[in-house]
């Protein structure tokens, strides 16, 4: 099962529509709790596909509060797949994950999957997606999700 999470929409719901940036610990905590509520509503998803499109700034505190804590609490067996990331989002998220030896999967705008964070952990996540037949290797050698 793939669960789709529109992070920008969750942020708007968590802040009464006031904010477009994922900054501060308390905002990160509220957003994470709403995401976890959604993930707890049914069977644990195999993939939590988190779309960051439309999110402005992501600071290190929110990167830790949302991505690192969800990664620690849910995966594996759940694999976090992040899409819609800008370069600055990556700059906030990647070192936070690496400092905890955590990883998630990054889905580029072209649909290619890459490890983000601790390389060995990320590689294992990609292998897990292939083993579960949620991802296949493309002709160019990159991985992509089968079901979108």
């Amino acid at each position: 099962m793939i669960q789709y999470i529109d992070v920008h929409a969750v942020l708007r719901q968590s802040s009464a529509g006031e904010y477009g940036d994922l900054v501060t610990r308390s905002t990160g905590r509220r957003v994470r709790e709403r995401i976890e509520q959604a993930m707890n509503a049914g069977a644990p998803p195999v993939i939590a596909r988190m779309d960051f499109s439309g999110v402005g700034c992501v600071d290190y505190s929110c990167a830790d509060e949302i991505v690192a804590k969800l990664s620690r609490a849910w995966g594996p067996p759940t694999v976090l797949v992040l899409r819609g990331l800008t370069e600055s989002h990556r700059e906030a998220i990647e070192p936070v994950l690496a400092s905890h030896r955590l990883a998630v999967v990054l889905e580029t705008s072209e649909g290619a999957l890459h490890a983000l964070g601790e390389p060995s952990v990320g590689t294992a996540l990609l292998e897990q997606l292939v083993a579960l037949r949620f991802a296949t290797r493309q002709p160019g050698g990159t991985l992509a999700l089968n079901a979108t």
């Binding site: 940036d21 700034c57 600071d59 505190s61 370069e87 600055s88």
Partner: protein, 311 residues
């Protein structure tokens, strides 16, 4: 009786300890203070915030709870700048101000990227981040030669610096951002972020979790070292301490500088274009914490190197 605290005529990070010393000796008896800024002819954002911190602390320490007095600068252009920078708006509830102040609201001047803005809660940090992105993007690119992508990193660094107040100070504080010519060493433009509060300071914040580890070395300097260099936090949550580490990464990329003063110590990550001292202890005590972040103009796609330093 009223005790005089002279505000340095050039009030920036270099004269901050002179001001802190005057403030520390004047506050010993709980008497009403008069901050004399009449001769001031320049104040950096850090200087303005330092004055607000002193005003708030003086009000709290005053035996009579009277507001401290402030003699405003007499030079018209200095008054105008302090007003544009939003200083008087924040100073009004903290001081009994004497002097002829300019009327009207702080202007939307290009050098003042963010006027003196209070930070009390997470909502204020959101507001600051939102405003700086609207305001600073073009200026950072055109004046500092920063890659437009660096603007978001700038907002991240600003957010984390402000959150130190919300998460650790135990009281409110202020932030201000300004671009100007850094005359001392660089002879080129910089953007300065100044964040200051009159809260508990780094030593008090970290004491419950770090004092035992440092033993006899524990003090303001050790607390600053633990926070900035080792990335420790008062929270046991392993994800804490990311903020200052993130600011350091951002500054390393753009050859920037950070200095933090708290209590009787000051620590700095000093880039090659600056001659600051990495760690100073035994300074005059000053309330709370004051953070200074400088990002220099980039030339030819590079940060300022040794060869570009002008002294």
């Amino acid at each position: 009786m009223t005790r005089l605290v002279e505000v340095p005529t050039q009030f920036d990070d270099r004269s901050f300890d002179q001001f802190a010393g005057a403030f520390a000796s004047a506050t010993q008896n709980g008497e009403r203070l008069l901050f004399d800024a009449h001769a001031a002819d320049w104040a950096s954002p850090l200087g303005l915030l330092g004055l607000l911190v002193a005003g708030e602390a003086a009000r709290q320490q005053s035996a009579t709870r009277e507001l401290p007095l402030l003699a405003a600068p007499t030079q018209a252009e200095v008054l105008s700048y302090w007003a544009r920078a939003g200083f008087f708006r924040e100073a009004a509830p903290l001081f009994e101000i004497h002097g002829k102040l300019p009327k009207g609201r702080p202007a939307d001047e290009s050098d003042v990227l963010l006027p003196v803005t209070p930070v009390r809660a997470a909502e204020d940090v959101h507001e600051v981040v939102s405003r700086i992105q609207q305001r600073a993007s073009a200026i950072l690119a055109s004046e500092l030669g920063l890659d437009p992508k660096a603007t978001m990193g700038f907002a991240m660094a600003l957010s984390e610096a402000c959150q130190n107040i919300v998460e650790h100070a135990g009281t409110g504080g202020w932030v201000a951002v300004q671009s100007y010519n850094w005359r001392r060493q660089l002879a080129r433009r910089v953007v300065m972020i100044a964040v200051a509060d009159a809260g508990v300071g780094f030593r008090h914040s970290l004491e419950p979790t770090q004092a035992k580890r440092f033993g006899a070395r524990w003090g303001d300097a050790a607390a600053l070292e633990a926070a900035l260099i080792q990335g420790v936090s008062r929270f046991r949550d392993p994800g804490r301490g990311q903020g200052l580490a993130g600011i350091r990464r951002y500054l390393a990329r753009w050859n920037g500088k950070i200095a933090i003063r708290s209590g009787t110590a000051r620590i700095a990550i000093v880039p090659d274009w600056d001659d600051d001292v990495p760690l100073r202890d035994g300074l005059p005590p000053f309330p709370g914490a004051q953070v200074l972040i400088l990002i220099p103009e980039q030339r030819d796609g590079q940060g300022v190197g040794v060869g570009a330093v002008k002294r």
